[in-house]
Amino acid sequence: MMPSLTLPSLIITLSLLSGCSGPQSILNPAGPSALAVSRLWWGMFGFSVAVLLAVMALWIYAMRRNPRSLTEAQADRINRNWIIGGGLVLPIIGIVALLSFGIPMGYRMLPLPVAGQSVPRIDVIGHQWWWEVRYPDTDIVLINELHLPAGTPVDIHVTSSDVIHSFWVPRLAGKIDMIPDRTNVLRIEADAPGQFLGKCAEFCGVGHAHMMLEVQVHTPEDFESWLEEYEYE
């Protein structure tokens, strides 16, 4: 058993050490939604590894051990304990634990109204194979680039003009599909100014691999002046 496990685990450890910080990495969050998910991941990862190792160890031990002879009643009791403990109790505890984190987290990601604040809106329209970005109330139309203010939630209203695409900036938040004649809303927020990458996540034809979006996050002041400047031009 062991030699087979060492190689992949070595590789994955090495890559983990080197690689979490990629520019499109879910594990390198730069916004509250992405941060929550990345924490969730590490929690689930730890729990899963523990369950996996425990079950594998039990299984291998069960195969190697030399059982003393049991009466039928003893064997029945042992067997029932395994099935009820492992098959019912363990999954139910796991599910309850997981949902008690997951449901409130999902709730916080919803585009709910924020008290005392109007959430700015940006429209993004998917095309084969480019992004059209519109700022309502202004005449600004951008192609393949999106400008955001840092530190404030923004609602991205997405739709598509042809096939289904999916809007995704991994370091900021999860993805939302862009579907013709429907508008979906994704609440997105960046912690600090910087450059991020977005990518179409739903297969949309030959150009799918190259359908990328540049996301530029400004400080709120810079964002305001960018808006004014751009409109002036």
């Binding site: 499109q24 998910v37 689930m44 079950v55 069960a62 993805k175 034809g205 691999a209």
Partner: protein, 840 residues
């Protein structure tokens, strides 16, 4: 001693006589074979070849992705490759191979001589083979489908995918699904109705439970996709809008129909594989499986729950969170039945005394890989996490852990386990171990790191990726692992090929297994058993180790063969008590030619030559009618069939034979299809963004009402004659059947009149298009009812059907009932509901 020898000699004579009736022809006539052993092996070998092709496609993709910004494979081809990889592995490998294994094993495990509809098995195989060849030819021609195996609209409609690529998928896969559904129906009826004497539900080998639930899941799960494919093909070829949002359709409807099939599909593949585990582990643990009842509970609940979680493939399309939470919850709760099985297996090992053979290695590999797949599956069921990793390589890794771990590893374990059964020889231990370790290490190297690739943000279905995003190393590692795994698989293959030549003879029951399939010869004869034993127990081979010899000597039931019929027991679905003798049809050209005619239809629809399609339809209709005309050999089934005292009747003399069960299970599948249509109708009505319904109902209600009344009269009349037959009266039977057919025909005419006088424009709105589909569906069923009844009238005239052999008329009855139910249900939802809706 002497008497024993005499019995042996009598056994040898019996064997010759059985082979005369059951033997398989060679040469060209081998195409006529309907025997389940041969058909099962054909399914498995063909599926194995498609597995290698699918693997080769995967190797090409891994080569392209090994380094960033490579252009070995251009995107156009790459899109075809990933579409075909998924399609081949799902439809051409996983389902057919498992069905083949089930077809091969089930009759042997339940002590039957063949599956209950042998010609349907052969027909299913030919449909599968021809459909697969049509689909694969598109890859050779460079016009393979290129929109992903999930075929999302609008990418797959005629605007964004012109050309025949998508049509190959829709028509080819639908054609292949005929084989899946027919196998599902046949396996269900076989397991329920042909178990050997005394094998009650609670004595069935666990694999039979797994296959029973798998078969029922196919029956309910495949129709939504069949419907979806038909609708999409109608949209592409005939311009009827179902998924076109501008004309009142909705692309999301496709996603619902696809995943309504797609998620159960995963469990359709996993359940038989888990069944292999549940069969092998107790044999190698030298004790009965722990928690038989618990495992049955787990199998049934997996089957049900898997139909309630399809939306977890659609968490990012903007469905309300509360609805998502329902599906998230159901997805997680599947962990309970899976956990029950895992820990029942663990307990079996814990209290048993395990021995080590090669299949056990694959089982341990299965556990490790499948556990990881299951755990990441629970993660993916959590909505916020799903929003991040959906459509990334994390999901690719997850699904390969589930599929390869949950299907391929147990399958290879089973292959090694039943290899001595197929060939009579044992595999080599050394080569087998090498094959396992290479595959295991290669697989994990490929896919364990792929989780990370996905977490680093690499989406699925991209033909290349830029450097500098941290994806280079994990992708190279995955590609290397892929090639190691390919070497491992080829080693397994080599081992299997070599064992036919060099393997040592296996002898009887080499693993000391407990189930009946080891009581046949190895390799088995086409008839499996010369005599059919009583089996009111779970472990017949452990309880009576000399069973193989006593069966071969003809010391059990139904060992008479001088009548020249292929026979097996028909038994009670619950208790397994014998109810009748089922008389099975023999070899026939009809399945082969029917499948050929249908593939002609498939090809002519592909190249849109509708005159040729019409010819193919007529040819298939003629062949299928001929098939039902040569229904069994009741002509030769002489009146003294129940000669031996204590034997029950032939099934053709009863009202409740396997044909009726086959009809009812077929109608369950048909009902699933109809409910999918109704779902589509209501869904579009409620959700489609641009739904347009006319002010008034476009069909006049008077002709519809007349038509419905006529249909109801025909159905009641048919019901009435069946009741009279039960009372033993068949006076004026032929005339009544003709009259029923005539009333049915009048109903069809009234329906056509209603349609032709309506204001439906099928290419304009989804509203009209769906109504047209419902009308077509109704006409198809009504027309078939008329044809079947007319056919019965003719058979009465020939004396094939009547008081003495009432069976066939009873089989047609549920079809009339179903057709009527569908009619009034459609009337309710299409005519009355919108009126109520508007007035509300």
């Amino acid at each position: 001693m002497n008497t024993n020898n005499e019995i042996r000699k009598a056994g040898a004579v019996l064997q010759d006589e059985f082979l005369q009736v059951w033997g398989n022809p060679s040469g060209w006539r081998a195409l006529t074979i309907v025997n389940h052993t041969t058909v099962g092996i054909r399914f498995m070998v063909t599926g194995g070849i498609f597995f290698l092709i699918g693997g080769l496609i995967a190797m090409l993709m891994r080569t392209q992705l090994a380094l960033p910004e490579q252009d070995i494979i251009e995107p156009k081809l790459y899109d075809q490759l990933f579409t075909m990889h998924g399609t081949v592995m799902m439809f051409l490998f996983a389902v057919p191979v498992l069905e083949g294994l089930a077809m091969y094993l089930i009759p042997k495990m339940i002590g039957a001589r063949d599956l209950v509809f042998p010609r349907l098995s052969a027909f299913g195989y030919w449909c599968y083979l021809f459909g697969s060849l049509i689909l694969m030819s598109s890859l050779v021609l460079g016009i393979a489908p290129a929109a992903g195996w999930f075929m999302y609209t609008p990418l797959t409609n005629d605007v964004y995918s012109p050309g025949p690529n998508v049509d190959f998928w829709l028509l080819g896969v639908t054609f292949i699904e005929i084989s899946a559904v027919s196998a599902g129906i046949e396996l269900t009826v076989s397991i329920l109705r042909t178990r050997t004497s005394g094998m009650a539900l609670l004595h069935m080998p666990l694999l039979c439970w797994y296959i029973l639930i798998m078969a029922l899941m196919i029956v309910f799960g495949f129709p939504p996709l069949i419907l979806g494919s038909i609708l999409l093909e109608l949209e592409r070829a005939a311009g009827m809008p179902f998924f076109d949002v501008a004309r009142g359709g909705d692309p999301i409807l496709w996603q619902h129909l696809f995943w309504l099939f797609g998620h159960p599909e995963v469990y359709i593949i996993f359940l038989p594989a888990a069944g292999i585990v549940s069969t092998l582990l107790p044999v190698f643990s030298r004790q009965p499986i722990v928690g038989y009842r618990w495992i049955v509970l787990a199998i049934i609940s997996t089957g049900f729950i898997s139909f309630g979680l399809w939306v977890h493939h659609m968490f990012t399309i903007g469905i309300p969170q509360l609805a998502q939470a329902f599906f998230s919850m159901a997805s997680m709760l599947v962990a309970i039945p899976t956990g029950i099985q895992l820990f029942a297996w663990l307990a079996t090992l814990w209290t048993g005394r395990p021995v080590y053979h090669v299949p056990m290695l694959w089982l341990v590999g299965f556990l490790f890989i499948f556990m990881i797949g299951g755990l990441t599956g629970v993660m993916l069921a959590l909505v916020p996490f799903n929003w991040q990793v959906h459509d990334t390589h994390f999901v690719v890794a997850h699904l390969h852990y589930v599929m390869v771990g949950g299907m391929l590893f147990p399958l290879i374990a089973g292959l090694y386990y039943w290899l001595p059964h197929f060939s009579g020889r044992m595999p080599s231990d050394k080569l087998a171990r090498w094959g396992f370790w290479m595959t295991f290490v290669g697989f994990n190297t490929t896919f364990l790191v792929m989780h990370l690739t996905g977490l680093l943000g690499m989406p699925r279905r991209v033909y290349t990726y830029p450097a500098g995003l941290g994806w280079e190393l994990p992708n190279s590692v995955s590609s290397m692992g892929g090639f190691i795994m390919a070497m491992g698989i080829s080693m397994v293959l080599l081992d299997i090929v070599l064992h036919f030549r060099f393997g040592r003879p296996a002898g009887a029951n080499p693993w000391q297994a407990d189930t009946l399939e080891w009581a046949t010869d190895t390799p088995p004869q086409p008839y499996n058993f010369i005599s059919l034993p009583d089996c009111p127990m779970r472990h017949p081979m452990w309880d009576s180790p000399d069973l193989q010899a006593t069966i071969a000597d003809g010391r059990h039931g139904l060992s008479e063969i001088d009548h020249g019929r292929r026979e097996t027991w028909g038994s009670d679905p619950v208790s397994g008590a014998i109810r009748e003798i089922i008389h099975l049809p023999g070899n026939s050209w009809l399945p082969f030619f029917s499948a050929l005619a249908l593939s002609g239809l498939c090809i002519s629809l592909l190249i849109r030559t509708y005159s040729m399609a019409l010819i193919a339809v007529i040819a298939s209709l003629v062949l299928l009618l001929r098939w039902s005309w040569k229904n069994g050999a009741f002509l030769e089934a002489d009146s003294d069939s129940a000669a031996k005292s204590g034997y029950p009747q032939l099934h053709s003399r009863t009202f409740d034979g396997p044909g009726l069960w086959g009809m009812v299970v077929t109608l369950l599948a048909d009902g699933a299809l109809f409910l999918s249509i109704l779902f589509g109708w209501l869904y579009l009505r409620i959700v489609a963004p641009n739904w347009q319904a006319p002010e008034t109902v476009p069909l006049a209600w008077q002709p519809l009402l007349i038509s419905g009344v006529l249909l109801t009269i025909a159905t009641f009349w048919h019901h009435f004659i069946v009741r009279r037959l039960r009372e033993g009266r068949d006076d004026h039977l032929q005339g009544q059947l003709w009259s029923i057919a005539a009333v049915g025909l009048a109903h069809c005419c009234a329906l056509i009149w209603a349609w032709s006088s309506s204001s439906l424009v099928t290419t304009q709105t989804a509203h009209d298009a769906v109504i047209a589909v419902i009308l077509m569906y109704q006409l198809f069923h009504s027309g078939l009812a008329v044809i079947m009844t007319a056919l019965q009238a003719m058979r009465v005239a020939y004396g094939y059907v009547g008081k003495g052999a009432p069976y066939e008329i009873a089989v047609v009855k549920p079809w009339w009932l179903y057709t009527t139910a569908v009619y009034w249900l459609s009337f309710l939802t299409v005519i009355l509901l919108p009126i109520a809706w508007r007035s509300a």
